[in-house]
Amino acid sequence: MAIIVDNDTRLVVQGLTGSEGRFHGLRNKAYGTNVVAGVTPGKGGQDVDGIPVFDTVAKAVDEAGANTSLIFVPARFAADAIYEAIDAGIGTVICITEHVPAHEMLRAYTYFRPKGVTMIGPNCPGVLSPGKANVGIIPAEIFTEGSVGLVSRSGTLTYQIGHELTQLGLGNSTIVGIGGDPVVGSSFIDVLAKFEADPQTELIVMVGEIGGDEEEKAAQYIAEHVSKPVLSYIAGFSAPPGKTMGHAGAIISGSSGTAQAKKEALEARGIQVGTTPTEVAQLVAERIKA
C-alpha cells in the first residue's frame, strides 16, 4: 500500500529537460519509480535517457498513460503547469518549485480543490514510498520500508528524523513533505487522513514548525478522526516573534502560531511532542515496540 505514490504511479516530469528535472527525474527512475514521460514545450519527440518527452501533459497522458506529475518548472510558470496537469486529467500533482506567488497558488488551490485531485507542494521535497516509488528530491537512501508514516512541512528536517528512525531500525510507509508555503496543495489533515486509511501505516509522525495554525487544526483532527498513534515534533521554539525563518509560512502573528502554542495544542489532545529529532525517534521506537 503506502500513500500518494506507489507501484501504480506512472510519472510524468514537467520540466524533465531542465537541469533539476533531468537530475531528479533520472534519480527517481533509478530508484524504481515508473517514469513514463517528460513534458517540455517544443521538445516533444525527444527523449531523456529513454524517457519520451512530449509537448503537452495531455499527450503524456494519452500516449504514455501518465497519472502522476512531478513539477520542476520555474516559479513563474508553476501555476500554469499545475493547471495543465489537472486539466489533462492527472490525479496526483507534486510540485517541487519554490517561490510560487501566493495569490497564484491561492487561485489554483481554490480551482482544483473541489476536483478531488491530490496535490503536494509547492516548495516541497516530494513524496517517497520506500521500496515502491520516489517522486521528488528526497534522498531515498536514508529511508527503509516500514510502518511509520512521516509527514512534514520541512525537507531536510524530515531527512534528519528519517535518519534517526533508520538508526533505530525503523522504516517508513511513506514520507510526505507538504511544503512550507502560505498555500500548499495538501495540509497535514489531508495527509493524516490518507495515513489513517493506509493499512501499511501503523504510526504517524507529524513534523511541524512555527507559523500558521495547521498543527493546531491537525491536533483537533487527530483527536476526532485518527485511531493510529501520532507523535510530533515542532521546529522553531527559539524563533523570535515577527521574524521569518526561511519558510514564508513561518511568520508568527501575535501569540498564535508559536511552537509553544502548537506543542500545547497537540499535547492537550494527547499527542506527544518530542523535544529534539532524536527524542522523537526514540519515542517512536518505544511506541512501536510497546
Binding site: 501566493a102 513561518a250 501575535g254
Partner: protein
C-alpha cells in the same frame, strides 16, 4: 516585503483610494520644504516598519513649515522598537470625525482572503478583537468569485455604518482595496484608521501593506522600494549575499541547510543550554561559495564565539560544504572560531574525509546533531 506607510499610500493612490496630499522628507530642511509645498497644518510622521510610533513620539502635528522642521528634527533618529527613524512622511493634516478600520489579509489558514472592518478604528485591531469582538466584522471570500458588491455591503451594514454617503464611499474603497490586494500580490492591506472628516469625506490616514516576496518579479517598481538601510546591518549584508539569516541574541553561530533543519538546530542548541547567535539557512543548493558567504555573514556578529554546521545532505552535497568551509578558512580570518561540523546524507563520508585530511585545528567533527550542538555550546564558553 513590508512597505512603509508612504509606499502603501502610493499603491492606494494608484487604485484610487483617497489619501492626503503628502511628501517624503529625510532631513528637517526637506520637511520644511514639504510643509511649504503642501500648505497649512501638516502631520510629520516617522516612517518605520513597526507599530506604536504614535506613543513613541513619532507622529506630530505642525502648524507651519518652521514647526514642521522642528518636529522633524525631533523625530528623525528616534529609536522606535529598535527601528531608527530615517524617513518622514509629511502630509496635510486631517480633521477627524470618526475612525474606522479596514483590511484584507491573505488568510493562510482558511486559504481565502479575509476582510475585516470595524467602526472602532484608530487602535490596534487586536485590541478591538479582544475587547469588542462583535464590533469587528470578519468576512472570508472566495478568490475565484472575486470581488462582488455584496462583500462591501455586508461589511458596512454589519458594522452599522448608517450614513448613505459614507456607505457609498466605503464600498468604493473596499472594492479598490481588493483590487490593490490582488494586483499587487498583497499578503496584507490595512487602513487604520480609515477616517471620516467632519465634511463627511472618507479617506485612508495610514497604510500597512505587505507584498508577497515571491511575486515581486511582477512588480519591479515595488521591489526597488526595499529599504536595505532599515534592516539590521548584518541582515542587510546577508540579503546582499543572498543568505537567509536572522540575527538572534546568543553566541553560538548556526548554519544548517533547509529552513526546518536550521530552525531545529537553533532549538537543539538552546535545548542543550546554549544561546544561538543566529538562524542561517544555506538553502537547497549549498555550493562551496554559498558556505563562504554564510560564514562571512555569521562572523560579522561580534557576539559569535563558536559555529555549528549542521548539514543533512539531500540536494546539498556534504563534500561541497566541506570544501566551502576550508575555502572560508583560507579567505576569511576564522582562526578564533571553533567550528563544529556534523555532516550526514549525500556524500557525507567524502565530506568528512576532506575535513579530516585538511587537519585544521579549529574544526571539530561530530557524528550527530545532538552531540554537535553540545560541543558547540561547550566551545562557546
Amino acid at each position: 516585503m513590508d512597505l512603509y506607510e508612504y509606499q502603501g499610500k502610493e499603491l492606494f493612490k494608484r487604485v484610487g483610494i483617497p489619501v492626503s496630499n503628502g511628501r517624503l522628507a529625510e532631513t528637517p530642511e526637506e520637511a520644511r520644504t514639504a510643509a511649504e509645498e503642501i500648505g497649512g497644518a501638516v502631520v510629520v510622521k516617522a516612517q518605520v516598519l513597526t507599530g506604536g510610533r504614535g506613543k513613541a513620539g513619532g507622529v506630530k502635528l505642525a502648524d507651519d513649515p518652521a514647526d514642521a522642521e522642528e518636529k522633524a528634527r525631533n523625530i528623525l533618529g528616534l529609536d522606535i522598537n529598535g527601528h531608527i527613524v530615517r524617513r518622514l512622511w509629511i502630509e496635510s493634516a486631517s480633521d477627524i470625525a470618526k475612525e474606522y478600520y479596514l483590511s484584507i489579509a491573505f488568510d493562510r489558514g482558511a486559504k481565502q482572503p479575509l476582510f475585516m472592518f470595524t467602526t472602532q478604528g484608530g487602535v490596534e485591531i487586536e485590541q478591538v478583537a479582544e475587547e469588542n469582538p462583535d464590533a469587528l466584522i470578519r468576512l472570508h471570500t472566495d478568490p475565484l468569485e472575486g470581488y462582488q458588491p455584496w462583500i462591501a455591503r455586508k461589511l458596512i451594514y454589519d458594522a452599522g455604518v448608517e450614513d448613505p454617503s459614507e456607505q457609498k464611499q466605503i464600498a468604493a474603497i473596499v472594492e479598490k482595496l481588493y483590487r490593490a490586494f490582488v494586483e499587487f500580490d498583497a499578503m496584507l492591506c490595512e487602513i487604520n484608521p480609515l477616517i471620516v472628516t467632519p465634511d463627511g469625506e472618507v479617506k485612508a490616514l495610514d497604510s500597512k501593506f505587505t507584498v508577497d516576496d515571491s511575486a515581486l518579479f511582477r512588480h519591479p517598481d515595488v521591489a526597488e522600494w526595499r529599504d536595505t538601510s532599515a534592516a539590521d546591518p548584518i541582515e542587510a549584508f546577508a540579503r546582499e549575499k543572498g543568505v537567509t539569516y536572522v540575527k538572534l541574541d546568543g553566541d553560538v553561530g548556526i548554519c544548517g541547510n533547509g529552513a526546518g533543519l536550521s530552525m531545529s538546530t537553533v532549538d537543539v542548541v538552546a535545548h542543550v543550554g546554549g544561546k544561538p547567535a543566529n538562524f542561517c539557512d544555506l538553502g537547497g543548493g549549498g555550493s562551496a561559495e554559498g558556505v563562504v558567504d554564510a560564514l562571512e555573514v555569521i562572523t560579522r556578529d561580534p557576539q559569535v564565539k563558536s559555529i555549528f554546521f549542521n548539514i543533512f545532505g539531500g540536494i546539498t552535497r556534504c563534500d561541497e560544504v566541506a570544501r566551502g568551509i576550508l575555502e572560508a578558512l583560507e579567505r576569511l580570518d576564522m582562526s578564533k572560531y571553533p567550528i563544529v561540523v556534523r555532516l550526514d546524507g549525500t556524500n557525507a563520508e567524502e565530506g568528512r574525509r576532506i575535513l579530516q585530511e585538511a587537519g585544521k585545528p579549529n574544526i571539530y567533527p561530530e557524528a550527530t546533531m545532538l552531540e554537535g550542538a553540545k560541543r558547540a555550546v561547550e566551545l562557546a564558553k
